[in-house]
């Protein structure tokens, strides 16, 4: 049975209006007009039901319900497409210029010298060494005499010492920490001693204050081979496994025998360059077996114990490691330099 002609008219009208509803407000108005609880057209049609003759009621009621269902379905469909349009619109307004710079958290840095010390201490901690420290203002005994520099010995003059008015001095090397350690502790001893040292020297390559790290091992049966093996292990970890290590006999009053330690030039890997004066080698360490006199002065019996010691300039290693061309750059607090360094 066909619909009553007036409802077909309403369907047409709804369809016309629905096609024209292009935004949320129109949709809402449409919904209210047709499905509103009080004044909605569907509601109005249903309220006509009571006024109809009973035989027409059923048909008319079914016709209104069909209209209602199709209006609801159409509104839902419209709602979905409007929502989709709205989401697209809102994500469009969230668009960023992803090429703008990010905001990095401000991170600070440790000094290049501290980073090298940290690395060296870690290497030696793995070899069973602990850290020992000492004062920077020292006396003649700890800086020279106990280290077997006799008074008026030429080797003293090579160190360009700063003296204080009260007769003390600024340590010229970290070796006094060796002495303090040996006087305070019984063997076995394994210590590594980083710190500031001072020499009266100020030019492009030298700073009157710089840093050394000293190592000392004393025990029964420590050999020259142990010194060599320890230094090689150290150099290989600090630089690379490929780095060549060469020991050359030399002279220090506090070690006997003494050796300078050269490594293959880190800049040219040993083929020769300006930095290493075309030798392929770079001198970085002084070392040797602890002089029996030094052991004796510290109350350790040299016929029972032997030991080795070594020292190196940290600033130089930091300069090599970070490609810093001038030692002054380490000490003038330039944040443009300091903040480039990453540990």
């Amino acid at each position: 049975m066909p619909d009553p002609p007036d409802l077909a008219q309403q369907r047409e009208e709804f369809e016309r209006e629905a096609s024209a509803a292009s935004d949320r407000a129109a949709w809402e108005a449409l919904r209210l007009k047709w499905l509103g609880r009080k004044r909605g057209i569907v509601r109005g049609l249903l309220s006509q039901l009571g006024g109809l003759p009973p035989d027409e009621r059923k048909d008319f009621g079914q016709a209104v319900n069909r209209l209602k269902n199709s209006v609801e379905a159409r509104l839902e469909e419209l709602d979905a497409s409007l929502s989709a349009r709205e989401r697209t619109a809102s994500t469009q307004s969230a668009a960023l210029d992803v090429t703008l710079p990010g905001r990095p958290p401000r991170v600070g840095t440790a000094h290049p010298v501290s980073l090298v010390v940290r690395e060296i201490v870690e290497i030696f901690a793995g070899l069973g060494f602990s850290v020992a420290e000492g004062p920077e203002v020292e006396d003649d005994f700890h800086n020279f005499e106990a280290l077997n520099f006799p008074p008026d010995h030429p080797a003293r003059e090579e160190q360009d010492t700063f003296f204080l008015r009260d007769g003390r001095l600024l340590r010229t090397h970290t070796s006094p920490v060796q002495i303090r350690t040996m006087v305070d502790r019984d063997p076995p001893i394994r210590v590594i001693c980083p710190g500031r040292v001072y020499r009266k020297d100020n030019d492009l390559r030298h700073s009157p204050m710089f840093h050394q790290i000293e190592g000392l091992a004393v025990g029964k049966g420590i050999t020259f081979g142990d010194l060599k093996g320890t230094l090689e292990a150290f150099v290989h970890r600090l630089f690379s496994e490929e780095t060549g290590v060469r020991l050359r006999p030399s002279y220090f009053p506090f070690t006997e025998p003494s050796a300078e330690v050269d490594i293959t030039c880190p800049f040219c890997s040993g083929s020769g360059c300006r930095v290493c004066s075309d030798t392929g080698w770079m001198e970085i360490l002084g070392s040797g077996m602890v002089n029996p006199r030094v052991l004796e002065r510290c109350g350790i019996d040299p016929s029972v114990y032997t030991g080795f010691a070594f020292g190196l300039g940290i600033d130089r290693v930091a300069m090599i490691r970070f490609g810093i061309p001038n030692i002054r750059l380490l000490f003038d607090s330039d944040e443009r330099v300091l903040r480039q360094v990453r540990g």
Binding site: G108, D152, P208, T223, K228, T230, Y251, P257, P302, T306
Partner: protein, 685 residues
């Protein structure tokens, strides 16, 4: 020190290539540090260490080459003296007043010489080692110096008054015009050579002008003596002189070489200048020079080196180096060894006077080459004491400060007088002053890290930095007692652009960093307003450890705004003794409450004179039952706030561990607290 390859070749057969020679010497402890090919010769530079005075000559180097390459060293031909006299000859007499300063004095006289120019070969030899030719007699003495390492001096024998040489201490007020034309005022610590009247030479350093060999000299007295190293050194130091002769005597010359060197020079003078050697040679030597000896065994060497060495290697090489080996009775591989006279100053003896075996080990090992020693690692024995506390504390603080965005710097430990007195510092007593500072700028050991940190900050600002954030660990130096392990921090300026949501660094950024550091170290700080040098009044505070209580008279640090007119931005700096911070025990974790609390804000308008600390104390006193914590969240002065007042916003959090609080409970407790605070701190109240 410079040597000539062709000169060296007169005494020993050299390896074919110069490289082999250089590597051999370097490997034996005589580092060859450069070479120049000049004509047929190679001039090379050797770093002769201060213990090897014996290698400061061509014969000395030849001996090393001979031992290294198994070659025999040819000694120069010497004239035979007629008679050795112990005090005088037909010319005159020699007397040693100070046998400690001068254990031996050899005098040789050559008569009837003609002083003139030297032959080309001699000039060339001297030129090779950088010595200027003067005349044939002086050139011969210099030649022998570079041949034997024994410094000589030629006197015009006729200018020595009283036909006499006396070796004695200089007299107070005595003066001498030396060869270089300088007038030297002498003191008794200088050993001199005098004639019958006065000083004619500085022993072991330089001759005098009036007795030098000159054109008219006919008879020459050649001095070849042994002087005590420290005596020459003290003399040279007192006169601020350094010569080829003093360089060798200070490092220890060979007492046994005096006679040979004198005869070598006399022979050359006779050859080159004519004349006749006086057969009576004077050799004054009051005391016997005891040999230097010690024992060593192959077993000891092998244990020390960690590698086996053959007995024949030891005997061969030590022999060629001049050591005398005598096998110990009943032992094939242990020896009593006598050290050659030219090495006596290099070999140190134990309290019993016996040379330590390590010195002999060194000789063998440097002949073998250190490459021959295998690399081993020492056995680890004994307990591991761990890293030192101060090192660990510094490492932890360094990581923390870097994480807070600060850059570590290192500055000099010394400064000027003005810089030193700028801040109170953490070191007590007057500053330590250097006796030989590089300049006034570096004359005092720092008592505070701040002067150099302020300089560091200015360095950056002058170069266009918008902000600075620096810290430094360093010692500060009290007049006496232990050095103080200190940490300094400086910051200021605008950090970051508007895009980076930049902020102006101020006092509270600095304080926050210090508080955080303390908290991580397990300490809590208390800040007491104080008037402090170098800091702007009203911005400075002393830092105390909270646990020490309000009565603690000794601050562990201080901070404030630096009074620095040169800085375009306000700079804030502080300094703290880090050993006071300790190392924090690991914190125990508290589980968060299961029932969420309720946060309520309160904005109090109160006088600027009321410190936050006062408000905080009042809140703690009033503390409502359910208040779990509170925090200052904002401060505001300006529109809507009366002059002299400030709005402080405080956020309070209420909660109970076993249930959720009702809004009514919170309202009731907070209402009472707010009312009490408002009543107590209201303006004009």
């Amino acid at each position: 020190m410079r040597f000539s390859r062709s000169w060296l070749a007169e005494y020993v057969t050299l390896p074919e290539s110069f490289e082999a020679l250089a590597n051999g010497l370097t490997g034996a402890g005589l580092a060859v540090e450069g070479s120049d090919h000049v004509g047929d010769d190679v001039l090379f530079e050797v770093d002769v260490t201060s213990n090897r005075a014996d290698c400061m000559s061509h014969l000395g180097i030849a001996r090393e080459v001979g031992a290294l390459f198994g070659q025999t060293v040819e000694q120069p031909d010497l004239p035979t003296p007629g008679v050795i006299r112990i005090d005088a000859n037909s010319w005159g007499s020699i007397e040693i007043e100070d046998p400690v300063g001068c254990p031996r004095y050899v005098g040789v006289v050559v008569r009837g010489i003609r002083v003139g120019t030297s032959p080309d070969w001699l000039k060339a030899r001297l030129e090779a080692v950088g010595v200027r030719s003067i005349n044939n007699v002086v050139d011969v003495t210099n030649f022998v110096l570079w041949e034997y390492g024994q410094p000589l001096h030629g006197f015009d024998a006729d200018k020595l008054r009283g036909q006499k040489i006396v070796v004695r201490s200089a007299r107070n007020g005595e003066a001498l015009i030396t060869l270089d034309g300088e007038t030297r005022l002498l003191v008794p610590e200088i050993l001199v050579i005098a004639d019958g009247q006065e000083a004619v030479a500085l022993a072991g350093i330089m001759g005098g002008r009036d007795s030098e060999v000159s054109e008219g000299t006919v008879n020459v007295l050649i001095e070849s003596a042994h002087f005590q190293p420290t005596r020459v050194r003290n003399g040279a130091k007192a006169l601020a002189m350094h010569t080829d002769a003093s360089h060798r005597f200070e490092r220890g010359s060979d007492p046994e070489a005096c006679l040979e060197a004198a005869l070598r020079a006399a022979g050359l003078i006779v050859d080159l200048c004519g004349g006749k050697l006086d057969p009576q040679v004077i050799d004054v030597r009051p005391d016997v020079t005891e040999p230097v000896e010690g024992e060593f065994s192959l077993e000891g060497l092998n244990a020390f080196a960690g590698v086996e060495t053959d007995e024949s290697f030891v005997v061969e090489h030590l022999g060629r180096l001049g050591f005398t080996l005598q096998r110990l009775f009943g032992d094939e591989t242990a020896w009593n060894v006598q050290v050659p006279s030219w090495r006596r100053f290099d070999f140190e003896a134990d309290p019993k006077g016996r040379v330590y075996p390590a010195y002999f080990y060194e000789e063998v090992l440097r002949m073998r080459g250190l490459d021959a020693i295998p690399s081993t690692l020492p056995a680890i024995e004994g307990p591991d004491p761990g890293l030192s506390l101060s090192h660990l504390r510094r490492e932890e603080l360094r990581n923390l400060l870097a994480a807070c965005g600060l850059a570590e710097t290192i500055t000099y430990s010394f400064g000027s007088a003005g810089a030193d007195s700028r801040f109170n510092g953490l070191a007590v007593g007057p500053p330590l002053e250097l006796a030989n500072a590089l300049s006034e700028q570096y004359a005092f050991m720092q008592r505070s890290l701040l002067p150099n940190l302020v300089e560091g900050a200015l360095y950056n600002l002058r170069r266009g930095a918008q902000s600075v954030q620096l810290f430094e660990f360093g010692h500060v130096f009290p007049a006496s007692g232990s050095e103080v392990d200190s940490l300094g921090v400086i910051l200021g300026g605008r950090l970051g652009s508007p895009w980076q949501r930049g902020l102006e660094l101020d006092f509270f950024d600095l304080k926050g960093v210090l508080e955080m550091m303390a908290r991580e170290s397990g300490a809590e700080l208390r800040f007491e307003p104080a008037a402090l040098a170098g800091l702007i009044p009203g911005t400075a505070a002393e830092i105390h450890l909270a646990r020490r209580g309000a009565a603690d008279p000794v601050p562990i640090g201080y901070l404030g705004r630096v009074d620095e007119p040169e800085s375009a931005v306000p700079l804030y700096a502080g300094e703290i003794r880090i050993e006071e911070l300790g190392r924090g025990a690991p914190d125990e974790v508290t589980a968060p409450p299961r029932h969420p609390g309720v946060a309520v804000d309160l904005t109090l308008t109160h006088s600027l004179d009321t410190a936050w600390a006062t408000l905080a104390v009042a809140i703690r006193e009033l503390r409502p039952e359910s208040l779990t914590d509170f925090e200052m969240t904002d401060r505001y002065c300006g529109e809507g706030v009366p002059a002299g007042a400030v709005n402080t916003t405080i956020s309070f959090r209420y909660g109970a561990h076993d249930r959720s609080l009702t809004q009514d409970e919170v309202n009731e407790q907070h209402g009472r607290l707010a009312e009490a605070l408002e009543r107590r701190f209201k303006l004009g109240g």
